[in-house]
Amino acid sequence: MRKLILTLALAAISDPAGAHAGGGRADFSWSLEPWVLASLGAAALAYGIGLARIRAEAGDRIVGGGNVAAFLAGLAVLFTALASPVDTLSDDLFSMHMVQHLLLMLVAAPLMVWSRPFLVFLWALPRSLRRSFGRFPARRGAARALNLLSHPVFVWSAFCGVFAFWHIPGPYGLALRHESVHILEHACFFASGYAFWAVVMSPGGRRRLEYGASVLYVGTAAVLSGLPGALIILTDRPFYPIHAEGAARWGLTALEDQHLAGLIMWIPAGFIYLAAICILFALWMREADRRAAAFARSMPTLAALIACAALLGGCGEGTEASSEAGGIGNVQRGAALISQFGCPACHTIPGIAGADGLVGPPLTKMGRRGYVAGVLRNTPENMTRWIRRPQAIVPGNAMPDMGISEDQARDITAYLYTLR
């Protein structure tokens, strides 16, 4: 049975001429409605003007090539969904109508989110209007309303609710009979889709929802939006008699058309959700890697604690490996080298016996200071360079080159970074 449906459907889609057997005339024309073309054209024009102004002020840092490509692709998908034969065919076939809805919610919406349209459209406005519009979201009431409307729980419910509601036979039939309701239906799909994907995508770099929660957010929506698809497939009664005549034109019964629509709602849509989940998961793992690296960089604090414990307990052997943990050098060897090279004569260095010199600057809290010698950013690499060849960096300063090796300088740096 299922096989028969697919064969029929494939035949109908790939070979419209052959499917005319069902009777009537199959319409394969474009539906170039003026208001659709005008809206898409106006959006493109506004985006172009805004983009040119942003580029003039800030180059391509804020709206890059990827964002512009997403806008063009999104516009192409909207055009395909609303003006190409996809729209004409969806008057006949419920299954093609489903394709149209999924294009709006799951393809055009995320592409548009990535293109940062609100930002660019804002720049298309004259300066004075831009100011007042730009300030609007910062107003107290507006900020609260926007915050509530973009809350993940609210957006998730609206997205799933809108999707289920418009496929109930009553509202669906109403939309097909009245053009204005039909426009409202499509606007609902696109707007709820836009809000849905805006929660998990961050073209501006600021995330509304962290990655783990985003995976759950998309995953639960995917499962839930499969349920209406299941209902549409698991029945032997056609729900949408309005399509019976149209389906016949393509050699399908209303029920076959409906089963096909349910499968499209369930499986291809499922692939899009799955792809989104995979991307979010990969980004999540990448972020975890970054966090682990940042944690390793901040390890000297821990290394210092371990070093202190080792000194107190007098068990240097056991913690030898641990005191390398900072990844810079060996903290204990560094402390010994500081005494050996005579640093205490000029510097005050916490934790080193007799280091109370007043010639050079005190090295208290060296791990938290911003600059080395007032000229280099305080990073482990710069600190090591400075300790080895201070005269090469600031010729004539009071700190002599002591002939310290790279490894020794790294050990000393490791110790200094424990001073926080």
Binding site: I168, P169, G170, G173, L227, A230, L231, L234, D236, R237
Partner: protein, 200 residues
């Protein structure tokens, strides 16, 4: 540190903020209960698509009792939310009033639901619709009853002074359960009382 401890007359109760293990436990519970209700409502829709309108009872469900009941449940959620906002500003009194209102309205909801049950001309075993009606609303009433119990316990604790501006994780955890139970009711209300009138 000792000075900070000495300033406190009694040891604090409960964790700071809401991200306590109890919070995650509640999130998991909400996950399982949401799945339960999703399956129950799916069964309803499954029967509906199999049998069409003949699945519905002759007399379509009316909003005479369920409409006001829905409003009562929403109001109880608002009351609990208002009380929780109160304790965040340190007002135990506002918390206690919110919890009291929430639990009373919750109990009224259960009472009106029971009246509606008595009002139905069919029993649990009459047909697939009646089975689903009593199973789904029954499961929901059980959840409301548990919620009222939680609110009453929280009310007792707030009167005993267990909560303050910083430590009120239990209130937030109980409140999120209550809001969840209300959200489930909205889905049930839409399913039983709205979809029959949408035309199918």
């Amino acid at each position: 540190m000792p000075s900070a401890a000495a300033r406190m007359r009694t040891l604090p109760v409960g964790s700071v903020g809401v991200r306590a293990s109890g919070w995650w436990g509640m999130m998991c519970l909400i996950g399982t209960e949401a799945a339960l209700f999703a399956y129950l409502l799916f069964s309803y829709y499954y029967f509906a698509v199999q049998f069409g309108r003949s699945f519905l009872p002759n007399e379509l469900p009316s909003v005479r009792l369920s409409g006001p009941d829905t409003l009562i449940l929403i109001l109880s959620s608002v009351a609990v939310w208002w009380g929780e906002r109160g304790i965040r500003q340190g007002s135990t009194v506002r918390l206690a009033i919110g919890l009291l209102l929430g639990s009373v309205l919750g109990a009224v909801f259960v009472g009106i639901q029971y009246l509606e049950w008595l009002d139905k001309p069919f029993v649990l075993s009459a047909d697939s619709y009646s089975s689903l009606y009593f199973t789904i609303t029954g499961f929901h009433m059980a959840h409301v009853a548990v919620g009222v119990l939680i609110l009453v316990v929280l009310l007792a604790w707030s009167v005993l002074g267990y909560f303050d501006r910083v430590r009120h994780a239990a209130v937030s955890i109980g409140a999120i359960y209550w809001h969840f139970v209300d959200a489930v009711w909205l889905a049930i209300f839409f399913t039983f009382y709205v979809t029959p009138y949408l035309g199918w």
